[in-house]
Amino acid sequence: MNEDKLHELWKNLSLKEKDGDNSLFAGVGQQKSELPINVINRNMKLKLYWHLAFIALALILTLFFLERADLLVIIGLFILETLFSFVLIRKQHKKALHINPLTENTHNMLINYYSCIQSMLRFERLSAWFSIPFSALLGMAFYVVWKYGSLVVLLNNTTMVLAVVGVIIILSPVAIWWTYWSQKKAYQPYLKKIESYIDIFNK
């Protein structure tokens, strides 16, 4: 087999594929990308809507407790926390939206693509670790203040103290484990594959 034969065979092979299936053209602008970078970004967008919905709900809740300054403080804290998270997610979402590594050279593309996904997943983890336990604690504080009028009652109630401690030492690790596990399940083999391509270039 010489070089010319290879080229000739390749030419024949290329001719076979000359007419691709262009029926997929229809509505190409409305289609969705299934590349992980775009899927994660779409999930982020969805989270932004959820954050807005939570903020709206919290604002509606304030209307019912206008006379209760103590509850308003807790609702205010929740709104602040959600707003803070909203701003950070939006920033990350916008950043990822404008990244288009696919037109770069392959080595750079793989490095940028890999680090972009890694940073998005890391951000998702941090966001979950922080907001899930914090929101749960605020929810509990809201319930106690609403029912007993003050957080001081917590100090005299062993069950409630246990519940708060439980949230901190059980819910936080569960949130950490859950986000880590779900990300690992969804993306680890894929990221390993990208890593192996980068390794081929680095050898």
Binding site: M1, E3, L6, H7, L9, W10, N12, L13, S14, K16, E17, K18, D19, G20, D21, N22, L24, F25, V28, G29, Q31, K32, S33, E34, L35, P36, I37, N100, P101, L102, T103, E104, N105, T106, H107, N108, M109, L110, Y113, Y190, I194, Y197, I200, F201
Partner: protein
Amino acid sequence: MKKEKCFKDYINKHGGIIGKVVMLYTNDEEDRKDLRQEILYQCWKSFDSYKGEAAFSTWLYRLSLNTALVFKRKERQHVSIEEQQPQEQQTIQQPDTDLLLYIIKKLNEIDRMIISLHLDGYSNEEIASFIGQSKTYVAVKLHRIKKDVTNQFKKLEK
């Protein structure tokens, strides 16, 4: 509307590139359809960034190959390249083009990219800039790949 027409014209003219990349990086019909759709979508999305510095075919080739590399196959039963291996008796009747395709698909994804660019007439320098490596890297790799392909071909032709 104008963008869409322009895009369609370009793709119709160079659609074979997408077909070739899809053929090299997939083993079953479902994946083929998904990858083709993904490449078309990514081309459409990046079409505005094409300023004409390079030939459209080169731009499309780069984008298609890059998309194929980072494409995530849906979780379902896949046909592996080993399963597509022709039976011993069939090997004799197997057209050479199919054998070549089978051998190239057995290479790793990066080598597949390098050999396809080479066989499509890109120079070592162009391939080097395409993949972001040195000319020497490409020359060494190509030498090994060609040797490997030739040996495999001889083995399967016997």
